[in-house]
Amino acid sequence: MSAAPVDFPILSMLVFMPAAGALIIILLSKRRPELMKLVAGITSVVTGAMSIWLLDAFDPQNDGYQFVSKHPWIEQWGISWHLGVDGISLFLIVLTGVLFPLAILGIDPHNEDPAQDKPYFAWLLLLEAGVMGSFLSLDLFLFFVFFEIVLVPMYFLIGGWGYEGRVQAATKFFLFTMIGSAFMLVSIMATVFLAKNNGVGHITFDLVEIAENASFAASTGRWLFFGFAVAFAVKVPIFPLHTWLPDAHTQAPTAGSVVLAGVMLKLGTYGLLRFGVYLFPEAAHWSRAIWLTLAVIGIIYGAIAATMQKDLKRLVAYSSVAHLGFIVLGTFAFTTQAITGSVMQMINHGISTGALFLLVGMIYERRHTRQIADLNGIQKAAPIFAAGFMVVMLSSIGVPGLNGFVGEYLILTGTFLTARWWVVVASTGVILAALYLLWAYQRVFHGEPDEANRNFPELKLKEAAVLLPFIGIIVFTGVYPKPMLSRIEPSVKALIAHVEEKTGFVEPQPEQIQVEDGE
């Protein structure tokens, strides 16, 4: 089945490698700050390489879990170390593997005290391990562990290397997410115990086992789903639970924002798919109207809020709310196109928004302000920088030929089959996206630069080296998404088949009219 050598636990390595790196850094003497970045770089690059190797070894035809590694961990509670990857998680893994080296090597934390490098890189690597684990876990307990553990490094990164309001933002982020997890934790346990008496027969936290065998009463399933849903809704975030996001994004250091937008928000959307739709198909399908509505609200609301922001970083943060609205919309449309689009959009958003935060970070480094009012005419001062920003922005707007469009189009066209009127409203989001981004661009880049911005430094070679991979992926995925889609699709099909089997739902298929072209 999978091309991977059975004896090499690639997935476990993906988790342990960064963790090991963090451990090494902790053990290193803090008098050798130069070593820290070296170690962090090496481990993250190796992890990235492994993830890319995984991409290559992954078998596109197989819609099941691949490279599965399963070992008992806490037998007393039926908990096991169960990792696996399928089309849905594959690219999130790769994204994580690629994003972290860039964030670690490409972004300078600006520690006035070199000793600070040590915790900084240690936390980043720990974060990577946690994120990897969350995407790979196929065990409820394991997933929860990773889902929670990522909070800690993120908390310290925001709190330690963030901007003026960092502590407040970090705390808000930590507590807000924990509240959500509180419900999920109870829900997880309830799921396990109820599953025991409803088809599974014994205590186990194994996701697949429960999802395949358990059959909950409708009302029960809905309550359990609710528990999970709250946690993910906070993480995504879905309106009205989104207010931690702007603060966290704005206050986080550049690397933090990049990672936060790039992969951590995806924990929510990924969770909704893997632990919402897959685990509780009935409940998910039953509650879809609510989700679709909230998603649409998020799209419009996020866009409008973004338009009025005065802080560039905050603006990008709110744009995330809108983009993730699209992802949620697709997730609860229950069509292959929509869900495939959602999964793809998770990656796209990670790339584009990640890159946007990167660029905003560069602006801050140069001008020490994020206020749009303080910036102007940068395009004249630094045309190449502006061009880079422009490309990323267009992908975020969803201009065809760039990655953002493909995902958005798939989501909308797929959702149109099951939720037409939601799409009619949601599509207006593309107008607003153009509005707020172009307006911001005009204010920041166009016009005649004033004294402060006249000597805005041009894109440096190192920065370009970090930016290029992003732009490369943006263009390539936009022009030739097939390799990605063909790997995602089988798993999505399997998921929908699962839903169809567990509920009465039948995926609508547009009747294929075959007209031989051209008369």
Partner: protein
């Protein structure tokens, strides 16, 4: 040649990449020539494709070239594929042809601009997108080009982005277009839901074979029209086009006159079977929107003083004409007028560019005049364009306009009337412009000191690189009519209706058949009427602006474009902005306030309960005692005695 059809977009793409990489090294003028060459190459390929098709039997003139599978997800299979058929090739021909000429002109026009190479970078990108748009085998590829040209127009309008007006205009163009794209996207979704595909073949096939429900067809057609309205600057979304004149003049000529703005017309023609399958009111709506836009814009053009603004509104008006044609089922006429319009409007834009160039970036016609002597070539070519658009026999505009009016009459006399009035106005304001610019007395001398930079100010003729395109276009604008000559009983059989025969396989489904109507028989008379109108307009203008027989009537309201733009902006800046601000406030105060409030609440509660912890041991004992009593009460009363 058809199997290498992809070369048509490929060349501009190559040009784009080359300039992107080496643009700065190449510098001026090499970059320009590189770009022009690339477009020329595409033109050559198009010509080759044209002859390939020509060599085929009329009904086999249909070739699909699939490059790769673009967006394949289960039932949705979208290919990156090109469709070579009479329509797309015709479009390619004049897009690349006119495009090439404008490239040449631009080399001269952009002389000395610090961002010379970047300009041609954008131009090539534009041609790439435009060819994708017309060659696309399915709606999505077309949409790719559709958005591409939109983006390029954004780049080019705000090319001189240090000017705020330019930046704003670019943004306005993009956003307004997006409103149209919303309709386009919904049309695609609906099409996919209906027939499981977005390829023209399938959609139109379904429409023709009647598989498609009429309601669906209507919805798709109208949603596409929404897209067209955005792209082709029809009411109510035309707003961006006049502002788009902020861009360099070649851009106005290429994008905002000849090619991009006609994309809407192209799209409707491409989807004509859908329109045919739709309910009758669909085409009627289109016709009316077109007619009203035509008249509306013409009235505004009458009172404009900016040499380019006049042309801009005239463009809007002419586009209205085309949609009038589409709505009347006169697809041939629409395309015909699109082509001729491309010729003479491009010609006049370039001419105006040449004038502006010669006047040192002066655009106000009131500061011009008497340029005929100083800029003979420009002037004479411009006059050709004038006569063409005015619809004077035998210039190209005469033929195409006649076609449209003919069908309009069949559709509805009222539409015909509107068309005529528009024709009069067109002739009038164009004459007015020609007089103000090239005749009368030279008002620019009084403004010499403004240009005191190089001492004694004197407008000068443009360099040959700019004049050649003018001449060529002038030729086309004069003779363009031959591609679609009516009979009038005198025109030899072999010369008639070339374009119609050529497009026939594409538009047969939608084309209205009027040969049996009375209007058709009186074609000649209609032509006379039209010419009469043209001369009436010209005459009036001469009387007022040259002979000063009467005071010019240029009401403020027209100069302000019926206050429409102002109203919309006022709304956006006022209530619209307030509403947005309200949402932002709501988010900050209510939603986030609730979150932070919860935190405050918890801490506050803590602060209150804290007061119980007085530190006095007897109070503590009291609290314990209360606890004891309550516990006892539960056990003794709750579970025991009672």
């Amino acid at each position: 040649m058809l199997d290498v059809i992809w070369l048509i977009p490929a060349f501009p793409l190559a040009g784009f990449i080359l300039i992107l990489l080496f643009g700065r090294k190449l510098g001026e003028p090499k970059a320009g020539f590189l770009a022009a060459t690339m477009v020329l190459a595409s033109f050559v390929v198009s010509v080759g494709a044209y002859f390939d098709l020509l060599s085929m039997d009329a009904h086999d003139r249909h070739h699909v070239e699939t490059l790769f599978s673009w967006v394949p997800v289960s039932s949705l299979q979208i290919n990156m594929a090109f469709l070579a058929d009479p329509l797309s090739i015709a479009m390619c021909l004049f897009v690349t042809g006119v495009g090439f000429l404008i490239h040449l002109f631009a080399i001269g026009y952009m002389h000395g601009d610090p961002k010379f190479s970047k300009f041609f970078l954008y131009l090539n990108l534009f041609v790439l997108s435009m060819t994708l748009l017309v060659l696309g085998e399915n709606l999505l590829v077309t949409f790719l080009g559709w958005e591409g040209v939109g983006t390029c127009s954004y780049f080019l309008i705000s090319f001189w982005h240090t000017r705020d007006s330019a930046a704003t205009a670019g943004k306005k163009a993009f956003v307004t277009n997006r409103i149209g794209d919303w309709g386009f996207m919904l049309a695609m979704f609906l099409g996919f839901e209906a027939v499981g595909s977005v390829s023209y073949g399938t959609l139109n096939g379904a429409a023709e074979s009647g598989v498609l429900a009429q309601s669906t067809a209507t919805a798709i057609a109208l949603l596409l029209f929404v897209g067209a309205v955005g792209k082709s600057a029809q009411l109510p979304l035309y707003l961006w086009l006049p502002d788009a004149m902020e861009g360099p003049t070649p851009v106005s000529a290429l994008i905002h006159a000849a090619t991009m703005v006609t994309a809407g017309v192209f799209l409707m023609t491409r989807m004509n079977p859908m329109l045919a399958a739709a309910s009758d009111y669909a085409p009627t709506i289109i016709a009316w929107v077109g007619a009203i836009t035509a008249l509306f814009a013409a009235t505004i053009a009458v009172a404009q003083n900016d040499i380019k603004k006049v042309l801009a509104y005239s463009t809007v008006s002419q586009l209205g004409y085309m949609f009038l044609a589409v709505g009347s089922g006169a697809y041939v006429a629409a395309i015909f007028h699109m082509v001729t319009h491309a010729f003479f409007k491009a010609l006049m834009f370039l001419g105006s560019g040449s004038v502006i160039h010669g006047m040192h970036e002066e655009q106000d016609m009131r500061k011009m005049g008497k340029l005929l002597k100083l800029m003979p070539v420009t002037a004479s070519t411009f006059i050709v364009g004038w006569l063409a658009i005015a619809g004077v026999f035998p210039f190209s505009g005469f033929w195409s306009k006649d076609e449209i009016l003919l069908f309009a009459l069949v559709k509805s006399p009222v539409l015909y009337a509107i068309g005529l009035v528009t024709a009069v106005l067109t002739a009038f304001y164009m004459t007015r412009q020609v007089i103000m610019v090239f005749f009368g007395e030279a008002k620019w001398e009084s403004h010499a000191e403004e240009h005191g930079a190089h001492g004694e100010f004197k407008p000068h003729e443009s360099p040959p690189i700019m004049l050649i395109p003018l001449v060529v276009l002038a030729g086309l604008a004069f003779a363009g009519g031959i591609i679609q000559l009516p009979s009038f009983g005198i025109v030899p059989e072999a010369w008639r209706h070339k374009l119609e025969q050529w497009l026939e396989p594409v538009i047969e489904a939608g084309e209205a058949h009027i040969t049996d109507t009375g209007a058709y028989d009186n074609k000649a008379w209609l032509a006379v009427v039209a010419s009469a109108c043209a001369f009436a307009g010209i005459g009036a203008a001469i009387a007022i602006y040259a002979k000063h027989k009467a005071k010019p009537i240029e009401p403020k309201i027209l100069a302000d474009a019926w206050k429409y733009d102002a109203t919309v902006s006022a709304f956006m800046g006022g209530p619209g902005r307030k509403a947005f601000a309200a949402v932002a406030w709501f988010d900050k105060t209510i939603v986030d306030g609730a979150v932070n409030g919860t935190g405050k609440l918890v801490q506050g509660t803590g602060g209150q309960i804290r007061k119980l912890q007085t530190g006095n041991v007897r109070n503590y004992a009291g609290i314990v005692g209360v606890g004891v009593v309550l516990l006892l009460a539960w056990f003794v009363l709750g579970r025991g005695v009672l």
